[in-house]
């Protein structure tokens, strides 16, 4: 009504914003708080709705070669230091084998050369980091579905678990080996590949050499690097602290579709 009221209003708005201090909601960061469970129920809703909207074979967008305008930005682990990995790296991964284990008819394993001799798939896709940035690169590898077919996945299997050479975290526990899992829809998706090539070169160590699994309809943290074993399983709760992946155990959504 009056200018005085308007001034008073502006004043109270400024006052309100300075005392906003949102640390009263910091309890939401406590993983064991019961509010946290309520909020995290939205993650499973997202997973179910996206699975409904998304045909099993709907492809992530692919780009033309002109869209590769920079190297693939490395993030997370970029140089694993475990003795086992260093020994393999010293020999240019000649002794590396990718194992398929668990609920399969026959456990099989593949050397890098064997993987390279199989029918390859190349795709120029966008890698979306959970932090917010995106990077387009060409990934070349063997479709995971072909490897799973050789092993013969048993009907009871519901998840593919990925075991990796890199160790994340640290502190008192000394860190833990990276682990990831996906459902069999993602595992058998045509763009899901065991990638050994990046931008027409051999996959470098910083991006996950010798093999990184690409799950293209998910965020970057669901693209496990340095993978040495893919285990088929009826559950994924036996991994880490039970949420199904390293980052899910650290407060992130397991499915990583958004």
């Amino acid at each position: 009504m009056t200018r005085r009221n308007l001034l008073r209003a502006s004043g109270s708005l400024v006052a309100a914003s300075t005392l906003a201090g949102c640390d009263q909601f910091d309890f939401l960061g406590q993983r064991d708080h019961k509010m946290r469970d309520v909020l995290e129920s939205a993650n499973s809703l997202t997973y179910r709705v996206q699975r409904m909207l998304l045909g099993p074979n709907a492809l992530a967008p692919e780009y033309g070669p002109s869209e590769i305008r920079q190297g693939q930005r490395p993030n997370g682990s970029t140089n694993p230091q475990t003795a086992e990995y260093l020994a393999l790296k010293a020999n240019d991964f000649a002794d590396y084998r990718l194992k398929i284990t668990g609920l399969v008819e026959r456990e099989v394993s593949f050397s890098l050369d064997e993987l390279r001799r199989m029918t390859a798939r190349s795709q120029i896709t966008r890698h979306d980091c959970v932090e917010g940035w995106s990077c387009i690169a060409k990934w070349t590898g063997t479709p995971l579905s072909a490897l799973l077919k050789e092993a013969g996945v048993k009907a009871e299997a519901k998840f593919a678990l990925f075991h990796c050479y890199d160790v994340l975290g640290g502190g008192l526990s000394g860190g833990e080996a990276y682990y990831e899992s996906c459902d069999l829809i993602d595992a058998n998706h045509p763009q899901t590949i065991a990638a050994y090539g990046l931008n027409d070169e051999v996959l470098p160590v910083s991006n996950g050499a010798p093999v990184r699994v690409r799950i293209e309809r998910a965020l970057g943290y669901k693209q496990p690097k340095y993978v040495y074993e893919i285990e088929l399983s009826a559950t994924n709760t036996q991994l880490g602290q039970g949420q199904g992946s390293y980052w899910a155990d650290h407060g992130y959504d397991w499915y990583a579709g958004i």
Binding site: M1, C22, D23, G29, E40, Q50, E131, G132, Y252
Partner: protein, 280 residues
Amino acid sequence: MPNDIAEKQTRKSRDGLVYRQSVWTRVTHWVWAICLFFLLLTGLQIFNAHPSLYIGQQSGFGFDNSILSMSAENTENGPRGYTTVFGQKIDTTGLFGLSGPRPSVQGFPAWATIPSYRDLGTGRVVHFFFAWVFVGTMLVWLVASLVNRHLWRDVVPKGRDLRRIGQDIRDHLRLRFDHGAKYNVLQKLSYSVVLLVLFPLMVLTGLSMSPAMNAAWPWLLEVFGGRQTARTIHFAVMLLLVGFFIIHILMVVAAGPINELRSMITGWYRVKKTGAKSDE
């Protein structure tokens, strides 16, 4: 029920009260208010994980397609925070880039994020929870407002509303408000833009950042011109909504906070009989 309201209407109209806001309008209003509070503050938490905005599909590390970024640098005068907008570098120490009592390097300051400390995982959990509630409320509001005709009758501006816009702007500038039973044209315009343009734009640009949605609805990326452009639009719409919020609160206070709050809580609004005629 309608009889009940009609009866109350006649009784209360003697006191100059009209039943202005249906229960659907009131409940969705307050649910949105709570959602937007959490969406904004967790959104800033998420932004802080990579406080830069780009145009296009990807983020330029080997080339430059950034239009906004927040960063900190060591200078002769100690560490300073900077915001670079369209190539213009501005010192924003204390607010953007570097802030806090023990200065820390971060985009938005701790008081503007949930949680106050850096926790992208929690920010995302809270953000997506309220995003679902927000979208659900939008659907409830849309259906209710189509059925009870609130959308067409009260919100969408018509030709005759728009013809009064000059007068309405002059009235607002003089803080002279028309306390009619209906929204004035500036209200109709701003509510239409917020509800029918900004809210859907926010949801769609949010979905455009989802790699799974990009596979399900590839047209999203084409409409918005790439994932990073969608992220930039998501941010710009946030700024517009914050701007709307500030003006909204100022207008409520200036127009009479008790009356405005009562109508958004109980539905009953006191119309002014003197002076300006309502457009009934």
